[in-house]
């Protein structure tokens, strides 16, 4: 930039004269490493690194071989094949299973649409290789596990709906934001209604279905409650802020399991006699209280990150305290809390496995019971690993998803 005699204050705003050629930045290009160079640089850069490579390489080969041999040769996955439906939906009555499929289709379309406009197509050669490998593995597993033609057809429809959703989401782009947001808002009540009408009821939910329902309910309920608690904690009214601080710290200081036991034994005694609700609902309530304390702390962190000037500006515009919060502070705070919030939601999903410790027939409990069945003695690993894998796939893809949404939204760059 040339300081050609203009006032210092204008220095930064001086436009570059149009006659000047725009500076083209050329990064120094480096020829790609040959495989030999790559190995030398990344694996054998010093004698210590060489030893490390040899030792850890031996370990990887040994355990990798053992793992592959276990998965493809020595393991007997018949325990999974026999229990697949129980893992997925527990004791959900078979004649009512269409409800689950309907919900799955609805969500497939919705997730597809959201993905379509949220995440840009992301094609690297390595990524697509990986995708092909994963698809082949998944198909192989399905060929082994699913023998019914009907289920194959139903699965194919779900995949088609998802793919269609993604394509439509990409085509329509931003125009979809509002309708999809509204659909998500109504999704949960609709799903619960569809799943609990007829002869089903919350007590018949089981398997992964139960984990997902509980996780979604807890996330949906604890988010607003957590925001309220965070606002209460920052309130200038001592009575309100002390109460919120006490509540948050109490909840964060005790294990979730004790709260769930509280929900099982004590909660029902605190409400007026005659008022009863299902065990699942009590668990969801306690989960929600637990989760909202953590949401509150995340939101508080976000609120602290909002610059003081924003409050002052809102005050200068004559906004009331409520409007300052709702229109100025919270939108900025919530935006910056997206990464930790998604991290917290992932851990809520993982925490739903605690239902098993209270003998709800969730995915983990189902897997554990399958491992104790007489005909599958000695197949405990085969019974438990699929459950662990399902939890892992969902949590891991959620965290990957969140990373990509973060870069898309530019969180942390503003």
């Amino acid at each position: 930039m040339s300081g050609s005699g203009s006032l210092p204050g204008d220095l930064e705003r001086t436009p570059i004269p149009a006659t000047e050629e725009p500076v083209v930045q050329v990064a120094p290009t480096r020829p790609p490493l040959t495989p030999g160079e790559w190995v030398r640089r990344n694996l054998f850069s010093s004698w210590f690194n060489g030893v490390l490579t040899i030792v850890s390489g031996t370990l990887v080969l040994f355990f990798g071989f053992r793992l592959l041999r276990f998965v493809f040769v020595s393991a007997d996955w018949s325990v999974l094949r026999a229990n697949l439906r129980v893992y997925m939906v527990g004791r959900f009555p078979q004649e009512e299973l269409w409800r689950v499929w309907a919900v799955a289709y609805f969500l497939a379309v919705l997730v597809g649409l959201s993905r379509g406009f949220l995440i840009p197509p992301h094609r690297t050669r390595r990524g697509s290789y990986l995708r092909v490998v994963l698809a082949v593995l998944a198909l192989g597993a399905l060929f082994y596990l699913v023998k019914s033609l009907l289920v194959w057809l139903l699965l194919a429809i779900a995949v088609a709906l998802y793919a269609g959703g993604v394509a439509a989401g990409r085509r329509l782009g931003r125009r979809l934001v509002r309708p999809v947001l509204v659909a998500w808002l109504f999704a949960f009540p609709v799903v619960v209604l569809v799943l609990s009408l007829g002869d089903v009821g919350a007590s018949r939910w089981g398997g992964m279905l139960l984990n997902v329902i509980v996780a979604v309910a807890v996330i949906a309920l604890s988010f607003p409650l957590g925001i309220l608690l965070a606002l209460g904690r920052r309130s200038s009214l001592p009575a309100v802020s002390w109460f919120c601080v006490g509540f948050i710290e109490l909840i964060r200081g005790v294990p979730l399991l004790t709260l769930l036991i509280f929900g099982r034994f004590v909660l029902i005694l605190l409400v007026p006699p005659g008022l009863t609700f299902a065990q699942v609902v009590r668990a969801i309530l306690m989960f929600t209280l637990f989760s909202s304390a953590y949401v509150a702390e995340i939101v508080r962190g976000g609120l602290q990150g909002v610059p003081e000037g924003q409050y002052e500006a809102a005050k200068a515009l004559g906004l009331s305290t409520t409007r300052t919060m709702a229109l100025v502070a919270l939108p900025q705070a919530l935006r910056s809390t997206i990464p930790p919030m998604i991290g917290h939601f992932i851990s809520v999903f993982k925490d739903t496995s605690l239902l098993a410790a209270l003998s709800f027939s969730d995915l983990l409990f189902t897997a554990r019971r399958a491992s104790q069945a007489f005909e599958f003695v000695g197949r405990q690993a085969e019974a438990l690993l699929p459950a662990a894998f399902l939890f892992w796939v969902i949590a891991f893809s959620m965290s990957r998803w969140s990373q990509r949404v973060e870069t898309r939204l530019g969180v942390g760059e503003r």
């Binding site: 200081g253 006699p273 992932i346 410790a357 983990l364 662990a388």
Partner: protein
């Protein structure tokens, strides 16, 4: 320009001070009503079950056995049983915190290694472990690994010094003999001697500016005194080698399958989170610090030890504290595999004495006490580290 309008008091409903008091009063009133209602319901419900809300039942005879922990018999009270649980929780939490810190440190440093393979291995570990529920991992270790080990007669043995089977693990340990007290005094004296040597060597280093081994000398001094004491007090410690007996292992340091599974699950799970903290804190130290250290002519090891790590430690302590609290709270998942810690024992007591309300209050208060103690230690550490850096 003061006129009558500005000096007039605002009406009550626009008086901010009044509104604030009113708001709080309403809030407190609502709270009191809700709590009172809940308490009355509770009292009514408890009376209907012919129970009470007092803590007297804690003195009644427990009548159930606890598999492991400090000395206890079923004839003792519920309170003693609960205390066994408390000790068992502390036993698993403290050991778990130490081991998880080691594992996390190694994995966190490995994630920053210049070796591609090591880096990737650490990453795979973190991504797999972090995204699987800890309860799934604990149950997996318990059911699929530890209980699937061979039975005790055909158990694995390591030179007859350590045994592993589905009945637990037993390793050779030490047994205190006569003269242990005397040796204890020598150990204390050795520690004092080590501290004195350390101080003198530090002064020497500071005075001359040469780098000289300090810790090595101090440890040497301690070992010399300790060895001298060992000979003088007449072999106060003997090896305690376990044997396979009729009802399980006899002698040695024995670890139950439940304890092993819980510890494995907690350590491996928390270790992954600590690894991420370690990696993040080392990366958070500004690059210029390392470059400046390099410019001063420090060796790579000195750069790490004297410049990078002290600053990384300061960043790491608050999140580490919350991981330690998580580990302690997650030890309650032992309920699912029957390791008798606080929640597991309390659950049994609730089933026997039916006083869920009092028991849960007691459990929550105990956990708050434990977590507050850990936080206090970590805060003290944090203050010490921060002050050191600012000097």
């Amino acid at each position: 320009m003061a006129t009558a309008a500005s000096t007039a008091r605002p009406p009550l409903w626009r008086n901010v001070r009044f509104l604030r008091i009113l708001g709080q009063a309403v809030f407190v009133l609502l709270l009191v009503i809700v709590i009172r209602e809940a308490f009355l319901n509770l009292e009514f419900g408890v009376q209907e079950q012919n129970l009470d809300l007092s803590f007297d039942f804690l003195r009644q005879r427990a009548g159930f056995a606890i598999k492991e922990g400090i000395g206890y018999s079923p004839n003792e009270s519920f309170l003693s049983a609960f205390l066994v649980g408390v000790v068992n929780t502390i036993r698993v939490a403290l050991v778990g915190i130490v081991l998880a810190t080691f594992l996390g440190l190694i994995m966190g440093v490995a994630r920053l290694s210049s070796n591609w393979l090591v880096r990737r291995m650490a990453q795979v570990y973190v991504e797999i472990v972090r995204n699987t529920p800890v309860l799934v991992q604990i149950i997996f270790w318990y059911i699929a690994v530890i209980l699937a080990l061979p039975v005790i007669e055909g158990g694995l043995s390591l030179w007859d010094l350590a045994f592993v089977s589905n009945r637990g693990t037993a390793v050779a340990w030490f047994r205190l003999e006569d003269g242990a007290e005397a040796w204890g005094l020598f150990l204390a004296a050795g520690a004092v001697a080590g501290a004195i040597v350390l101080r003198r060597r530090t002064r020497l280093v500071e005075r001359t500016g040469r780098s000289a081994p300090r810790v090595l000398w101090a440890v040497g001094a301690f070992l010399v005194v300790a060895a001298l004491g060992f000979l003088l007090s007449g072999t106060p410690v003997a090896a305690d080698v376990p044997e396979v007996g009729r009802f399980g292992y006899e002698g040695g340091l024995q670890v139950s399958p439940e304890y092993t599974a819980l510890l494995l699950g907690l350590v491996i799970y928390t270790g992954a989170f600590i690894a991420e903290i370690v990696r993040g804190s080392i990366q958070a130290v500004p690059k210029g610090q390392k470059e400046a250290a390099e410019a001063l002519g420090l060796t790579p090891r000195q750069q790490l030890r004297l410049v990078v790590l002290p600053q990384a430690l300061r960043i790491a302590i608050p999140p580490l504290n919350s991981q330690y609290l998580n580990l302690t709270k997650n030890s309650s998942l032992a309920l699912a595999i029957g390791y008798p810690e606080i929640v597991s024992v309390s659950n049994t007591i609730i089933n026997q004495a039916a006083r869920a309300t009092q028991m849960l209050l007691l459990v929550m208060a105990t956990y708050l006490l434990i977590t507050l103690s850990i936080s206090a230690v970590m805060n003290a550490l944090n203050r010490a580290v921060t002050r050191k850096g600012r000097r």
